[in-house]
């Protein structure tokens, strides 16, 4: 017996339609995947105390996106960036990220949030399954902790543990050469300050076991006055000081410590000093502050890096920040992955990104890699040097050795129970 189709909509096609409708609601970026332009959403911090960093992230992304679009776009599709302010609040970052995907139809996310916000955006990426590249969070656990691992998220950022290993070993070499045994620390009293200082002193003591931390200060984040902290450190009479204060807090601290002539009384290691945001703002920058590189156009000392820094300055009339190079690198990775996959499908891009090595002005050897096993950036230029009051500000940077970083990072991961 043959069944004849009744006129109207069959049960099967109704189900198919309902299914498609449900897909549209649940995963609208899939339904819009064939649109001519590809929308990439980006929550970042465009207002408040760290607005400068968010703005520099947006600038860097746009600088690179313009290049990609001029060269024909991603697999033939022009990029349209949709960039929204999260005000630096994690719940707002999550809301904006979700809205960018569900309402604005963004197919990928570039997460330009600081650590607290990036964990919130990470959960949105986990929930929606959308391709997400974190570009600003340095918190190691974001990719080191296997609980955080999702196949569709990557981190294109320097990492706290890498900085600590290189910083600790650099500081230890100076400590041994100059006999610096008594150390003080002064870092902001929140997760980043505590963790970074703890990891730095851990590696410092490991490489220079004689070192003793005789004084610790934990000023509040955005504290306006550091006088009592400065005098407390002077009382302790350390031979060296470590600080991971950053931005306006660091420049305030330097101005206030300067008039106590602190910098002539001890060696100072300030990991966040060598960033143009701080270097160009401090009017009386003391000579000889040891700092990690953040972004500086003279390190790596290659024509590509210098050209990139100059192009950014020519377009935006200021130097890039640490967040800038990371965001630019993310666009470079996405562009290269789309080329290799010849597609803009998030899943295919994620597959290609795993272990992908690209040419990059910010690479230690001219390339950077998105490590396959934990989806994080490695091989970027990382090092320490000392400041001078005028350009190039940090004339010589000692580069970190990635082989040694990998060894110690693996050990650290083990000690944390991550592997």
């Amino acid at each position: 017996m043959t069944r004849t189709r009744k006129p109207g909509i069959s049960r099967r096609s109704t189900l198919a339609l309902m299914g498609a409708g449900a897909m549209n609601v649940a995963a609208p970026w899939v339904a819009r995947a064939q649109a001519k332009t590809i929308k990439i959403g980006m929550p970042t911090i465009l207002s408040g105390r760290v607005a400068q960093l968010g703005t520099s992230s947006r600038n860097a992304v746009m600088l690179e996106v313009d290049k990609v679009n001029a060269a024909g776009g991603l697999a033939g599709r022009q990029i349209e960036m949709v960039i929204r302010d999260s005000k630096g609040q994690p719940q707002e970052a999550a809301r904006v990220a979700r809205e960018l995907v569900n309402t604005d139809g963004c197919e990928w996310l570039i997460d330009g949030e600081a650590s607290s916000g990036s964990f919130a955006v990470h959960e949105v990426a986990r929930d929606l399954g959308v391709l997400c590249v974190h570009t600003c969070s340095e918190a190691s656990s974001l990719t080191a902790d296997p609980k955080q691992h999702i196949p569709n998220a990557f981190r294109c950022v320097r990492q706290g543990i890498h900085d600590s290993i290189v910083g600790g070993s650099y500081a230890a070499s100076i400590a041994k050469a100059k006999g610096l045994k008594k150390w003080a620390t002064c870092s902001p009293d929140y997760a980043y300050g505590r963790d970074t200082t703890g990891e730095f002193t851990l590696y410092l003591k490991r490489f220079a076991p004689d070192v003793e931390v005789i004084s610790e200060s934990w000023p509040k984040l955005f504290q306006p006055d550091y006088t009592e902290v400065v005098t407390k450190i002077l009382q302790a009479k350390p031979q060296a000081l470590y600080s991971c204060l950053w931005g306006g807090d660091l420049t305030s601290y330097i101005d206030q410590a300067n008039i106590y002539a602190m910098f002539s009384q001890m060696e100072v290691f300030a990991v966040n000093m060598a960033d143009y945001t701080a270097l160009t703002v401090v009017k009386n920058l003391p000579k000889g502050i040891h700092s990690g590189n953040r972004y500086i156009k003279t390190f790596p000392a290659t024509p590509e890096n210098a050209a990139w820094g100059d192009a950014y300055k020519a377009k935006y009339n200021e130097y890039p920040t640490n967040w800038s190079w990371q965001n630019a690198t993310a666009v470079m990775f996405l562009s290269e992955a789309a080329k290799k996959a010849n597609s803009t499908d998030g899943k295919k891009i994620a597959e290609v990104l795993k272990g992908l090595t690209i040419k990059c002005p910010f690479g230690a050897d001219g390339t950077v890699t998105m490590r396959a096993d934990d989806h994080t950036l490695v091989g970027y230029a990382i090092g320490w040097g000392t400041t001078i009051p005028q350009e190039p500000y940090v004339p010589e940077v000692k580069a970190g050795d990635w082989k040694a970083i990998f060894e110690l990072e693996a050990e650290w991961k083990k000690s944390k129970g991550y592997t």
Partner: protein, 323 residues
Amino acid sequence: MTVSAVFVSFSAPYQAHDNESASVDLDALAGCLSSSACLVTQTTSGLIIGMLLFLVAVGLTLIFGVLKVVNFSHGAFYMFGAYFAMTAYHLTESFALAMLAGAAGTAILGLIFERVFMSRVYGADVLMQLLVCYAFVLIFDDVVRIIWGPEFKSMGMPSAFQVMPLFIAGGVVPPYYLLLIGVALVVAIVLGIGLSRSRIGKVVRAAAHNPGMVSALGINTGLIYGGVFALGGMLAGLAGALAAPVRSLTPGMGFSVLIESFIVTVIGGMGSILGALIGALLLGLIRSFGSLGFPLFTEGLMYLFMVIVLVSKPTGLFGKEAA
């Protein structure tokens, strides 16, 4: 050179790092109290913190005392003072002109703000006054952001003060901070004498006590109110200008100063100039010595002190009982 040359000793055992610092370090505090060098350094450190706070708090308390308005936007005047001073300094390279610009600019701003906006809500509910002030906190922050940009700025220390600190009894005292303490002391004395002895001071006090009667005597109370607000704004602006060489300038910088100024006025007694001075100095000393003895509880100590004062004397140390 690579870091591999720097990796020198792997012999030390891998230690779990100890991130806990002592929350109470009475030995350090006792050691400091028995050393003249430490006493001098920490006392001047307390005076510096206190005197800047005093300049902001005294304007706040003055405005409250006369106008009966809690000016929540007071921190914005501190911020404007710093920005005005920085701009004037970068244009003229004159420290004196920078201070003048900070003080005069905020005085004018205070006068306009009072006449155009605050004068309309004097009779209104406290909540309405608070809302107007808070709205202007946001507006002023945005104005600064539009004019000077969102990034932090630095004025830089004038070359005249880029000198080695003085060593008094072994303690370290930067010359710039001596100037700062001196200016604040002069302000305290002039205000104290001016309000209690001068004719204008007497009129202001009368207006604070009974504005209706003062007005009936033919005195322009609007002018007095505007003048007091301008003076309050000017003092906060002067504090901002004095702080500009040693603090980074950023939109919203007035907020944290405002909170501490409120603690000062609450401890000293709302409306009392002497109270503001004593309160600010006590707070400065608590911060300075507290950071040695109670490094993780310095902020807490300030609030604890405020609670003790409020419990034992709810009107503050020098506050008058409500009539």
